[in-house]
């Protein structure tokens, strides 16, 4: 009962055997606990596979955590010239096989989510494998265990469906390409497949870049509130600066 009120994952949902990965970048606080924890993994200690970066620090503190989404039909594996990227029976797409990888960067450039990392010093691509060493033993991935905000969650679907205000989707539309993944993305309940828009975020020729900092109350992109547009700034005090 208490768990119903506090939204703690409790017996009713923890009993579920099937566990999945749920990603909600909108909750991310950019603390990098996931990055630090990822680098503690036995299979790649000292190197983090997860990505976490500011979307655009000058305009705000929004951050983008990205793990491998484990595509059903992984583009990275399809463009690998060396057969180095394998998908296992559970659908996890593994990091490059060390003997095979020729460090060509095809996967780095082709992955729709920008996941694989090229370690030039090792001539080796390394990427998130959903902590295969941990998940294969029934543990949670490092990043999702430590994440303090719930941006990364690994657990039963029942929990997410019962308690989260967002809904999970595993389908993305990249222009003409539909990509289905093993990892869930939290989104608005009415969104069945996440439209991965690109065109609206590009600087098109002829479109003058509106300088939002000029206009205090200019509409700015969602996710990047401007302290100036919310604050009453006393111009008189700082006029002579």
């Amino acid at each position: 009962m208490a768990s119903d009120l506090t939204n703690e994952p409790s017996a009713d949902v923890e009993a579920e055997e099937e566990v999945e990965f749920f990603l909600d970048p909108s909750r991310c606080i950019g603390c990098q606990a996931c990055v630090q924890a990822c680098a503690e993994c036995d299979t790649h200690r000292g190197h983090a596979m997860i990505h976490l970066e500011y979307v655009d620090r000058p305009t705000g503190v929004q951050t983008a955590p990205v793990v491998c989404m484990h595509c059903e039909d992984p583009t990275c594996a399809k463009v690998c010239p060396a057969d180095a990227i394998k998908q296992d029976d559970e659908g996890k797409v593994h990091t490059a096989a060390k003997p095979r990888c020729v460090a060509c960067s095809n996967c780095v450039l082709a992955c729709p989510f920008g996941v694989p990392k090229m370690h030039a010093e090792f001539d080796l691509m390394m990427k998130c494998d959903m902590c295969y060493d941990r998940t294969s033993m029934g543990k949670k991935p490092m990043c999702a265990t430590v994440c303090p905000s719930g941006a990364l969650y690994y657990g039963p679907r029942a929990y997410v469906e019962k308690y989260r205000q967002e809904s999970p989707t595993r389908e993305f539309h990249f222009g003409a390409q539909t990509v289905k993944t093993k990892v869930n993305m939290m989104t608005s309940p009415e969104v069945k497949a996440l439209p991965f828009d690109v065109l609206d975020f590009l600087p098109w020729e002829g479109e003058s870049e509106t300088d939002a900092s000029e206009d205090l109350f200019a509409t700015i992109r969602s996710g990047a509130p401007n302290a100036a547009s919310a604050a009453v700034w006393d111009h008189a005090l700082t006029e002579h600066l």
């Binding site: 208490a2 009120l5 506090t6 939204n7 703690e8 994952p9 909108s26 909750r27 991310c28 606080i29 950019g30 603390c31 990098q32 606990a33 990055v35 630090q36 924890a37 680098a39 503690e40 036995d42 200690r45 000292g46 970066e53 500011y54 620090r57 000058p58 305009t59 705000g60 503190v61 929004q62 951050t63 949670k140 490092m142 265990t145 430590v146 994440c147 303090p148 905000s149 719930g150 308690y163 989260r164 205000q165 900092s213 205090l216 700015i220 996710g223 990047a224 509130p225 401007n226 302290a227 100036a228 919310a230 604050a231 009453v232 700034w233 006393d234 005090l237 700082t238 002579h240 600066l241």
Partner: protein, 733 residues
């Protein structure tokens, strides 16, 4: 005496801080000998964590998902906290200052003897109070208790205080004034049940990251979040309502919100009548704070003030959480009381999902302030100025009541008194005042005047460089004990490894000093557990009662909330149930403090507000976290946040080197141009030392009640020095 005799670089070469990316012997991926269930050494959440131990070394960590507060969650500091025990900078021997070249290693006995001789010389020549003791709130309850007893019984000095004076005291004092007891009213498990949450002056996501999940669970339950801060912090970014308060105006904003609540009759009149006092004064005070007037003072748009009241007023349940943002002021106590007024007026306290909590910055911010480590306090949260309290503790300790000193100076006042030549000797433990106290050049000058300075720490912090004797103390994982978290839950720390080299457990150092000062019978403990038993017994019957707790119970029950006055008492997660408060009349008190400006407000010479705070990857003065490579990489050096509107006016571009000047001094650093801060405010995090210390420019004006310094607001100006030193450096990633 205590001037430095090595260059900065020489100190760094010998003692650090040197950021290490791997433990001293490299990664050890072997199977650990044991997994020790213990807690993180950093903030007041005290997350459960398991340390991997191999051959008496901490080699890694494993999340501890069974601990109910964090369920395996950790922030980056927690993940990397295990890197200290095997750190190359770790002090493994005691050091005595040598005149020409820094320090020489010394035996434990030599260090003790020298310290005792100096204590006796100084106290003999200048009186007992000329020797001061500064403790810390990152230490266990056992050590906090022992520090207090050591100062009163062995040193017999009035001048003992702790670095919680820079952190929790405004909240503590306000809690006592409002509720009659100093503790968060609710367990954090109440947060997800709240329907509206005010986060006032708390950069929750960076300073208390684990509670972010609690806040989101509340939102999933339909809660609305109101954030009050001059900066759009990560938790503020997605808030339902953001009130960008002008620094130093917090209590006016609370009054403004309460004004609307009164106007719209969103107050619980029966609760006020039955369970509180002082409402009338407050009601007439807030009548003046119309949204328009409040907007003028606070810079928060009037419609936002009304919106806040509209969210808070009719809510079914609510939580107020606040932190240093409203507490680090010369009216810190008044600010806190003004926000508590919002809670009391709504009558929503002492119920599931309804109440109040403070965000404790330090690891034992709560417990460190309960057991007599403060200048005005005796064990069990007793008052050193109260004759019956003094008598009780004198009898418990078996000393004369008259031998217990009276109330002494607070931490900043101790530094002032050293500067003024009144205090000649100092012993500090786990405290780095050179970085953490405002106006650091004055702190440096004070240190140089000391005739003797002894420091106990596990790393050579910047202040300890000035010491005559440095004792190699213990890390949290090298000792056992208890800490009390920000929600009032006393949790158990387990010993993971023994201190390396000749380093000693802190309490052992204090006890040996006590013994050598002739108080053998008061300082003869074999283990930390004995101190805990004495501490709980001492607290019996006091305002802060631990007497029902044992190590075994705490461990079995995953922590116990005080008060816990009997072995069969379950502890008290939620205070004030049924409207019963801890003042003698059982009522909570409203306090009506009109708004007054900060000690130093902006003017034509210094036209901008300066405020300081933390980043998520660093902890307090950085003694620990500036040594951990992964954390250093995350935010390597302080940056000066400023709004593009301001930057444009001054011709400053992102990454340019700027100089921020106040009446105390200046600091030079790169600018970070961001829209997430008020255009009239500059922000610099304070974790760095020397020329990178934000506290070079902050104001040491103190709150009259809590004696907390005004870290969060002073007046400054900023000027451009030149382009970035290294054009390729990217900032803030």
């Amino acid at each position: 005496m205590a001037t430095l005799n090595l260059t900065e670089q020489e100190y760094i070469d010998r003692y650090g801080p040197n950021p290490a990316h791997t433990p001293a012997g490299g990664w050890d991926n072997r199977q650990p000998d044991k997994l020790v269930k213990t807690h993180c050494c950093f903030c007041g959440v005290q997350c459960g964590i398991q340390l991997k131990v191999k051959e008496n070394k901490v080699i890694g960590f494993e999340p501890w998902e069974e601990f109910p507060v964090n369920r395996g969650k950790l922030c980056p500091k927690g993940v990397k906290r295990y890197m200290q025990n095997e750190h190359p900078d770790r002090l493994k021997a005691h050091l005595i200052r040598s005149l020409d070249h820094g320090f020489r290693e010394a035996s434990f006995d030599e260090a003790l003897d020298k310290t005792v001789a100096e204590i006796q010389r100084i106290q003999g020549a200048y009186g007992k109070d000329a020797f001061a003791f500064l403790g810390g709130a990152s230490m266990t309850n056992e050590k906090a208790y022992l520090n207090g007893k050591f100062a009163r019984v062995a040193l017999q000095t009035a001048n003992i205080d702790y670095n919680g004076r820079l952190c929790m005291v405004s909240a503590g004092a306000a809690n006592k004034l409002a509720f009659g007891v100093d503790r968060s009213a609710n367990p954090w498990s109440d947060i997800p049940q709240a329907k509206v949450i005010i986060l006032a002056g708390t950069n929750l996501a960076e300073c208390f990251p684990i509670l972010t999940d609690y806040v989101w669970r509340a939102r999933d339950n339909g809660a609305k979040i109101i954030v009050i801060d001059p900066r759009i912090t990560p938790i503020a970014r997605t808030a339902d309502l953001f009130l960008p308060v002008r620094p130093g105006r917090d209590n006016a904003l609370a009054h403004g919100i309460l004004h609307v609540l009164v106007q719209r009759s969103w107050i619980d009149e029966s609760f006020i009548a039955n369970h509180t006092s002082g409402w009338e004064n407050l009601e007439s005070l807030v009548a003046e704070y119309t949204p328009e007037k409040t907007e003028q003072i606070t810079g928060v748009p009037a419609q936002s003030i009304v919106a806040a009241a509209e969210l808070w007023g009719p809510a079914e349940t609510s939580m107020l959480l606040h932190a240093r943002g409203i507490e680090h002021h010369t009216k810190g106590v008044e600010n806190v009381l003004s926000y508590i007024n919002l809670v009391l007026a709504s009558g929503r306290i002492g119920k599931p999902g309804s109440g109040y909590g403070t965000i404790t910055g330090q690891g034992n911010g709560q417990g460190g302030r309960e057991h007599g480590q403060r200048c005005n306090q005796l064990p069990g949260g007793r008052d050193i100025n109260s004759p019956p309290h003094r008598q009780h503790i004198a009898e418990f300790w078996g000393v004369e009541e008259t031998s217990i000193p009276q109330e002494g100076l607070t931490a900043c006042e101790i530094i002032d008194a050293i500067e003024a030549g009144q205090i000649k000797g100092l012993l500090s433990i786990s405290f780095n005042p050179l970085v953490s106290i405002p106006d650091s050049e004055r702190t440096r000058a004070a240190l140089e005047k000391l005739e003797f300075y002894g420091a106990i720490d596990f790393f050579m912090n910047e202040t300890a460089r000035h010491a005559d004797v440095v004792f190699a103390g213990s890390l949290q994982e090298e000792d056992e004990g208890t800490v009390t978290t920000g929600e009032g839950r006393c949790v158990r720390l387990h010993n993971s490894v023994s201190p390396p080299g000749d380093a000693r457990r802190d309490w052992e150092i204090i006890c040996r000093l006590g013994q050598k000062l002739g108080q053998e019978k008061h300082f003869s403990y074999d283990k930390a557990g004995q101190i805990f038993e004495e501490l709980t017994a001492a607290s019996k019957g006091g305002p802060i009662d631990y007497s029902g707790m044992t190590y075994q119970r705490i461990e079995d029950e995953m922590g116990i909330f005080w008060p816990c006055p009997a072995p069969d008492h379950p502890g008290t997660p939620r205070l004030f149930e049924n409207g019963k408060f801890h003042h003698p009349d059982g009522r909570a008190k409203f306090h009506a403090y009109p708004y007054r400006p900060p000690a130093e407000d902006i003017d034509s010479e210094f036209p901008l507000f300066f405020t300081s705070g933390r980043v998520v990857s660093q902890y307090l003065s950085g003694t620990q976290t500036r040594r951990i490579g992964g954390l250093v990489d995350q935010y390597p050096e302080p940056l000066c946040e400023m709004h593009p509107l301001l930057a444009k006016k001054l011709g400053i571009e992102d990454g340019d080197r700027v100089r921020v000047v106040t009446r105390r001094g200046d600091i030079e650093l790169p600018a970070q141009i961001v829209r997430s801060i008020r255009p009239d405010t500059l922000f610099i995090p304070y974790h760095w030392a020397g020329k990178k210390a934000a506290n070079r420019i902050t104001n040491r004006a103190l709150d009259p009640i809590s004696k907390i310094p005004e870290f969060k607001v002073c007046a400054c100006r900023v000027e451009k020095i030149g382009p970035p030193e290294n054009a390729s450096t990217s900032h803030g990633q």
